[in-house]
Amino acid sequence: MEIKVLFFGVLAEITKTRFKHYRDITSYDDLRLRIQDEFPEIVHYNYRIALNSEIINEDPELKNEDEIAYMPPFAGG
């Protein structure tokens, strides 16, 4: 399946991209490892994950065209 991944804040800076499409993803774990392989620096940052605009605390079941967001701690206001 294909998953769109969004990077925000400092994570958009270290990945040098705001979003990226990952193809042939088999599971959330597969996606996570592909991202860590590509951007090894990401493991040094605090972040939370959203699936289709909802924060998730456990690894989700992905389906085709889901949107995953990598989000550093919020800083609104």
Binding site: L6, F8, G9, V10, A12, E13, N46, A50, S53, E54, A69, M71, P72, P73, F74, A75, G76, G77
Partner: protein
């Protein structure tokens, strides 16, 4: 209906004035509580902030702002209206990046709901800020330590 609360650049003073002009239309409101967040020219290690660049997960901001409004309206039964505006992009020091306006029948609910709304915005909205200093270096900031 979920509305976008995001504004490109600072919240314009003219927009604030026109929102204030409209207040008297609801003669059931007895108090309006407003909070304006302003970009501070903080100095860190000798570098002075000249602007903040905000970025946001726009689709999720819309969802979360809607949830915040619904939870505030559910908690305070005397509210007449609730307006939230937040900047994305560059906001210079001295400009407004956050606007919250709560109208209620009586003052206590207006003020308590406004304060609670601002806290929820800080905690729940997927917004990020990068301070840009006068020497053009920059630094990411966060509201809560992880």
């Amino acid at each position: 209906m979920k509305e976008s609360i995001l504004i490109n650049g600072p919240v314009p003073k003219a927009m604030i004035s026109s929102l204030l002009e409209a207040l008297g239309n609801d003669t059931g409101a007895g108090g309006h509580s407003l909070f304006l967040g302003q970009v501070r020219a903080d100095v860190t290690d000798g570098r002075r902030v000249k602007a903040i660049e905000y970025s946001a997960y726009e689709a999720m901001v819309m969802e979360e702002a809607d949830k915040i409004k619904k939870s505030i309206i559910a908690e305070y039964d005397d509210l007449k209206s609730i307006i939230i505006l937040h900047s994305v992009g560059i906001v210079n020091a001295g400009e407004i990046s956050l606007f919250v306006l709560i109208s209620a029948g009586h003052r206590h609910q207006a003020m308590q709901a406004c304060s609670k709304t601002v806290e929820l915005i800080k905690e729940k909205l997927p917004v990020w800020k990068k301070e840009i200093f006068e020497n053009n270096t920059s630094e990411w900031r966060q509201n809560y330590q992880a």
